[in-house]
């Protein structure tokens, strides 16, 4: 590869940020100053395959620059490319893919104000207008309207990120104009976020399985975790052996909780039996479905549980390296998980010899950078590998060719933490919870028009009505959105839908990632649908035509009929149906295939434009 670099130079800050991640450059081949060139450098070129193998450090490198300076300049990007032997055009393509990066100068502080569904219903528009009026040009803060920040239980929400060394963040939720401005102008003095347990209204209930430790254990203490039953599941896993663990997980009937409900045991078995090595484990914590925040609460409240569960999954499938792909907008989860992984490593629970069993496993955290599509499993692989987060076409499936082209198990956070009770209770006892085809406990993210929004743990089979009663649903319920933007609406007279994978499917809707968002009759439905359409337009990766252009046409049609009903909307609804059908049939990945679901359900079930 004969790379061409421009003449722009990085600033000292930018160079220091990259060097802090990659170490100082070895030679001027890798971007050291020319006058430091040694005689040996004149004879041998460095780089080549060895440097190209570090391509996966591109995304961390872009984060390093963005965290330090707030945006990515030409000089900084070129320097990072020299260090990693990445073509600058490709790196530019990657940097411009993510919403959290900017390749144009901007203030060091960015305030992300959530304007998504739950926040919109809680007054995000007024918050945004107020904040924008206070933080205009010259305030040193760039205000950006953001998709769901995963703080729906405390809507409306805002997240301030101030670049520097170190980067500082502050969350304001529920945010007032005053509080959001304070968070942006002095993130250090903003009030501390409430503890994760505040998002668990059932806290203290002894019957909780997945959330039992949230609020009970100190999330920073490994000892406390062990004192509350931590690491008994891993011990049992070592006693069972990899095949025994897979058998338990298969017998438990565990289905993936990320939205697709694929049997976890089958996925593990398929990966474990692949002859190609190494195998990888990837935990998908890129929780970006609007209305979803369960993984954040688990990671913030019980981080060691995820570390232990990842270790078990890796052990069962023969992986020695795990990646935790964590959403970029989750600073506290990042801090908690980083600490938990470091502690586990220091205590021999990760590393060359886990629990003295001669099994080697370690976890690396990779941060997302603002791209919903990276929650799609193959887009996530591309993102980790340092490419644009575009989905790959399947087959081949990840169990065969996943991360770095190797057999890979990818599981959602909630799926993984379910493995702990499966091993401690035994598959039979676990499978006794829930219904025959949807076993175990399930986390639901309840938000919107309820008195006690938050994460609820109920066994599969509880009805939507029971869950909403638990959360204290308010008067005047107009619609409930199940499964987030990619899910579907149901009517207030359909509250007897059992919350199971098969039950929702029979009712013609979906459980998705467990979003249950209640809307009362004060929220104009067409506005909500338009927001969903805007979300998909913004988040489409642009790879395939049905989704890239279809999501734009969908948004245009919905904005035309936002004030219309009946015959005046009929033509556009017909158009929406045709475009929606093509998106569902012909898009490459789940994003395009589901981009029309919520709108269709609102038209058909709720009669949104009648």
């Amino acid at each position: 590869m004969d790379l061409h670099f421009g003449d722009s130079k990085p600033t000292d800050d930018e160079r220091a940020a990259v060097d802090a991640l990659l170490g100082p450059p070895d030679s001027s081949w890798e971007g050291a100053a020319r006058d430091e060139m040694r005689a040996v450098d004149l004879r041998w070129a460095r780089g080549g395959r060895e440097a190209r193998d570090r391509r996966d450090l591109l995304l961390p490198g872009l984060h390093a620059i963005n965290d330090r300076v707030g945006w990515i300049s030409e000089g900084a990007l070129d320097y990072l490319c020299r260090r990693l032997t990445v073509p600058p055009a490709e790196a530019y393509g990657v940097a411009t893919f993510y919403a959290m990066f900017s390749v144009k100068p901007r203030p060091a502080t960015v305030l992300h104000v959530c304007t998504d569904l739950a926040c919109a219903a809680a007054g995000a528009a007024e918050l945004c207008a107020g904040v924008e009026a206070r933080l205009g040009l010259g305030s040193g803060v760039s205000v950006e309207r953001s998709p769901c920040l995963g703080l729906c239980e405390r809507a409306p929400a805002a997240l301030a990120i101030r670049a520097g060394d170190p980067v500082r963040t502050a969350v304001s939720a529920p945010a007032s104009v005053e509080a959001a401005v304070l968070a942006a102008s002095s993130p250090d003095s903003a009030p501390e976020e409430p503890p994760a347990v505040m998002a668990v209204p059932q806290a203290g209930d002894a019957s909780l399985t997945l959330l039992g430790r949230v609020g009970v254990v100190d999330p920073s203490s490994l000892d406390d975790y062990r004192a509350h039953g931590g690491y008994t599941a891993l011990r049992r896993a070592f006693a069972l052996g990899p095949a025994g663990v897979i058998r338990e997980v298969t017998d438990s009937g565990l289905l993936g909780r990320g939205g697709a409900a694929f049997p976890t045991g089958r996925k593990w078995q398929a990966t474990a039996s692949q002859p190609d090595h190494p195998h990888y484990l990837v935990c998908n914590a890129d929780e970006s479905e609007p209305g979803t925040f369960k993984d954040r609460v688990v990671m913030e409240g019980d981080p060691y549980a995820l570390v232990e569960a990842m270790t078990i999954a890796a052990y069962a499938t023969g992986a020695h390296q795990g990646y935790l792909y964590l959403r970029g907008e989750y600073p506290r989860a990042l801090e908690r998980m980083s600490r938990a992984i470091a502690q586990a490593r220091a205590r021999g629970l990760l590393g060359d010899d886990v629990l003295g069993q001669g099994y080697a496993f370690d976890i690396e955290i990779r941060r997302g950078a603002g791209a919903y599509i990276c929650g799609e499993e193959t887009a996530l692989f591309n993102s980790i590998e340092g490419y644009r987060g575009e989905p790959r076409s399947k087959p081949p499936f990840p169990v065969e060719k996943g991360l770095f082209g190797k057999p890979t198990v990818e599981n959602n956070v909630e799926t993984l933490v379910n493995v702990l009770p499966i091993l401690t209770m035994g598959a039979e006892a676990y499978a006794a919870v829930g219904t025959g085809r949807s076993t175990g406990p399930k986390l639901f993210c309840v938000s919107g028009s309820v008195a006690r929004p938050g994460i609820y743990e109920v066994p599969f089979g509880a009805t939507l009505g029971e869950l909403l009663t638990l959360a204290g649903v308010r008067e005047g319920l107009r619609a409930v959105l199940l499964g987030g933007a990619a899910g579907g609406f149901v009517r207030p007279d359909e509250l007897d839908v059992p919350l199971t994978f098969e039950g929702t499917r029979e009712a013609g809707t979906t459980l998705g990632s467990g979003v249950v968002m209640a809307f009362d009759d004060t929220v104009p439905l067409p506005r909500l649908l338009l927001r969903i359409a805007e979300f998909f337009r913004d988040e489409s990766c642009g790879q395939c035509v049905p989704c890239r252009v279809g999501t734009v046409r969908q948004e245009e049609a919905l904005s035309r009929i936002v004030e219309r009903t009946g015959a005046a909307a009929a033509d556009d609804i017909a158009l929406l149906r045709e475009v929606g059908r093509a998106m569902r049939d012909a898009s490459i990945c789940g994003l395009g295939q589901t981009a029309w679901n919520a709108v269709e359900s609102a038209i058909d079930r709720l009669g949104a434009y009648e």
Binding site: E74, A89, A91, T96, S393, V545, R548, A582, A586
Partner: protein, 286 residues
């Protein structure tokens, strides 16, 4: 005696296309099988010299049992598969894809597309006059070729040809996301500041005329471009010892464009700057 490499013998897989039995060598795509059977499945992003990216989705067909339609260009034929190339469902998606493209991109120089729009009864106008379009101006920043991204359907062929599939120059990439995604060099700079080596292999694979010789672009602008008056002569490049084939497109005794046969076993349609653009001395009359 010349040894002819026969390759590893490949098994045949049997499946049905539109109810007819088809047998193709293992590893063939559905598209290969359809073309072998004489069926026309429209394609845009598929290229005969490139790995399919299956981004345009105009070649989608219905496979019995599959939840979604599948791209014929890249899905391998499997034994027992039942493929329907012309079902209502497949035709609907093709129609909408053509409408979406034609309503956002200038397809005036895309071969065959007008015929497909007619065949599938696509009506790109129905999205209204205010439907978002790419709205790009041609980028004319060098003497050799023009990048008119208003005609770009983002098929990734130029990126793949410039990258690890052929040229290994990596001068271009897709930048941005969604509807705002565009083909760009680093920092969206002019081509002259980029890694481009002007081999023109991206022009060779461009299916829509978004990338074109400056000579072709200028003649089209002047209204003098006339393919029916052009003669194509395939010859051997005289610059070096590789001996690449050049196809000279000549109009009014002037070379107006140079391509290369895709079935050439050595170059597969690829050339370097000399073969592609170094023809002026032939017609310099001073």
């Amino acid at each position: 005696m010349t040894a002819i490499p026969l390759g590893v013998p490949r098994r045949l897989v049997g499946f049905t296309v539109d109810g007819q039995e088809a047998r193709v060598p293992e590893g063939s795509t559905i598209l290969d099988a359809c073309r072998a059977a004489g069926k026309d499945v429209p394609t845009l992003c598929q290229g005969d010299t490139l790995t399919p990216k299956n981004a345009c989705r105009v070649c989608v067909v219905e496979v019995e049992g599959a939840r979604t339609l599948v791209p014929a260009c890249s899905r391998k034929a499997e034994a027992g598969m039942e493929v329907r190339t012309d079902s209502e469902r497949a035709r609907h998606s093709r129609k909408v894809v053509l409408e979406l493209l034609a309503s956002s991109v200038d397809l005036s120089t895309t071969p065959k597309v007008a015929g497909w729009i007619k065949e599938y009864e696509a009506k790109p106008d129905r999205f209204g006059s205010d439907a978002a379009r790419l709205d790009e101006e041609p980028k004319i920043d060098n003497e050799l070729y023009v990048r008119d991204y208003d005609k770009c359907i983002l098929c990734y062929k130029c990126v793949d040809a410039c990258g690890d599939q052929w040229q290994n120059t990596f001068a271009i990439s897709v930048a941005g996301r969604g509807f705002d995604a565009r083909i760009a060099v680093e920092h969206d700079a002019p081509l002259t500041d980029s890694a481009c080596v002007y081999c023109g292999n991206c022009i060779e694979v461009c299916p829509t005329g978004a990338l074109s010789f400056k000579s072709e672009f200028d003649m089209r602008a002047a209204g003098t471009w006339d393919e029916s008056a052009q003669e194509e002569t395939t010859t051997v490049c005289a610059y070096c010892g590789v001996g690449c084939n050049l196809t000279l497109h000549v109009q009014d005794n002037e070379i107006v464009k140079v391509t290369s046969p895709h079935d050439n076993p050595v170059t597969h349609g690829n050339l370097c700057i000399k073969g592609r653009f170094g023809y002026q001395h032939v017609q310099n009359r001073d």
